[in-house]
Amino acid sequence: MPMHRHAARAALTVVALPLATPAFAAAAETSSLNLTAISLFLCFVLLTLWITWKAAQRTKSTDDFYAAGGNITGFQNGLAIAGDAMSAGAFLGLTALVFTSGFDGLIYAIGYTTGMPIVVFLLAERLRKLGRYTFTDVVCSRLSERPIRIFAACASLVVVAFYLIAQMVGAGQLIQLLFGLDYLYAEFLVGVLMVCYVMFGGMVATTWVQIIKAGLLMAGATLIVLLVLVTYRFDFGALLAQAAAVHPKGTAILAPQAAPKDPLSALSLGLALMFGTAGLPHILMRFFTVPDARAARVSVFWAATFMNYFYALVFVLGFGALVMTAGNPAYIGVGGALRGGGNMAAIHLSHAVGGDAMMGFISAVAFATILAVVSGLTLAGASAVSHDLYAGVIRRGRLDEKSELRISRIATFVLGLVAIGLGIAFKGQNVAYMVSLAFAVACSSTFPVLLLALYWRGLTTTGAVVGGTVGLLSALGLTLVGPAVWVKVLGNPAPLFAMDPPTLVTLPLAFATCWLVSRLDRSAQAANDRERFDLQQQAA
């Protein structure tokens, strides 16, 4: 049981603190232990793990996993879809972004809200008509399977890696802050927990668990927002005025600051946020798992409503955190930086408005959500390796389930190690920003291929693979030499490619390459690809 380890670690911390052993000496000065918050945190995390375990026991088939046995309403499924998409990374990262840079942080929140409607307008109905729910299934239904599987698995792994970084950094800082552990130990703890969670639970992010988590996350965030607003008698203007008064940049934080300085990056970010959701490998899977098409459509409406409501809360959370923690040495360290790392603004805010109990509750909800998202991502990554690459490509389908499961476990373990390494390398980066990089890669690689496969007769296998790969490699390469990695991780003074994220270049490049290569493709495979599109259209 992973939780015993966890509890033991907490107990160890309590014992070790008075002794001030070297490992905990640094921790002692960053935060003192908060027993109320910690015990509430442990209670809530244990409770979610218990629910997960119960749900996993009752989950017998893949149908159960996604549809919770088919007796789920559109409203409930909407909550589950929202639960998949609302990561705690977004909650922690967006609040922190507003805390540091004001309205510029809200630009991210607003951008995220446009993602789900685009998925509904352009993809959802077509996917339902085809009866396919994952990127690979849709594209393989009309193009040659093996090359597409290789490309899809590679793209999934890159997106999963960026997404994982965000969650690992968020979880690591949370554990560091709450238990006073060193960041390095916190990362290992999260990594070990994550691998245990996936190994013993397997299918963890069941529909019911996602419903409960989405509900708790929204309830907790709403409660904080109400407590902040009560202080200002529900006058949002007064809150903003106070925020401008305490921030060193003054009223400049109430309007966009970065966009006027770098318009190209602003447009590029807008593209990534709007179309990135549509390319995420783990987001499309829960669509249309309710009994009929009508309920399915109602569920995406609820999903969009919940998500947009959640992101709208960031308006108050971010500026609330700025005002409520200002000048308080319990939250702000000597240099003016937040205690426990830059992503902890929301956690400090919960303490400021609701005391230890609220902090314990919010931390637990955030941590449980991170664990679920991380496990979902790890599963997606592991299945890309075991199912798409190993079973489908290397063994060409001649493989028993047992060895596929073994490969999947090995992949989970390796992904856990990779996640720990990345979490340590990207320490201190804002997690909402890291998520936007995952979006940039997704909307330059999988999104163009998916959209063209659904709408354009002319797309051929070679065109899709070459175009998608060009988009994937250019997005990855330009991100690596951009500000996030080249400057902040590798420590170089200036980026080689300043546009951040690179979507404005890579998205059109991917579309253009898909189009050009498909047009020039005169092979027999290409003729077959086009013919299968026509057959699909007739069937639909």
Binding site: L122, F236, A266
Partner: protein, 89 residues
């Protein structure tokens, strides 16, 4: 839309054009917001009510968020109705 065509393809093409139209509306609204932030930040920084602190940046941002929900609602209603009409025939 009023024309009755017996072909099964009719609702499909309607979905596509509705989806594309709604996508374009949302894109115009959102990229209008981004472009104003990039090229006319002074306009967004003007207060909505004179003397107030809430400026057009917040109002426009909230508008985009609400618009996303409203357009999704319109799409779901329209497609569900078309579906019901089709199965009724």
């Amino acid at each position: 839309m009023e024309l009755y065509k017996p072909s099964l393809r009719v609702p499909d093409t309607q979905d596509v054009s509705l989806g594309v139209i709604l996508t374009i509306i949302l894109m115009v609204a959102y990229f209008g917001f981004v472009a104003m932030g990039a090229f006319a930040p002074a306009v967004l920084a003007k207060p909505v009510l004179s003397g107030g602190t809430v400026n057009w940046a917040f109002a426009y941002g909230l508008f985009v968020i609400v618009l996303g929900v409203v357009l999704t609602g319109i799409y779901v209603l329209a497609v569900n109705r078309a579906d019901a009409r089709l199965s009724g025939k």
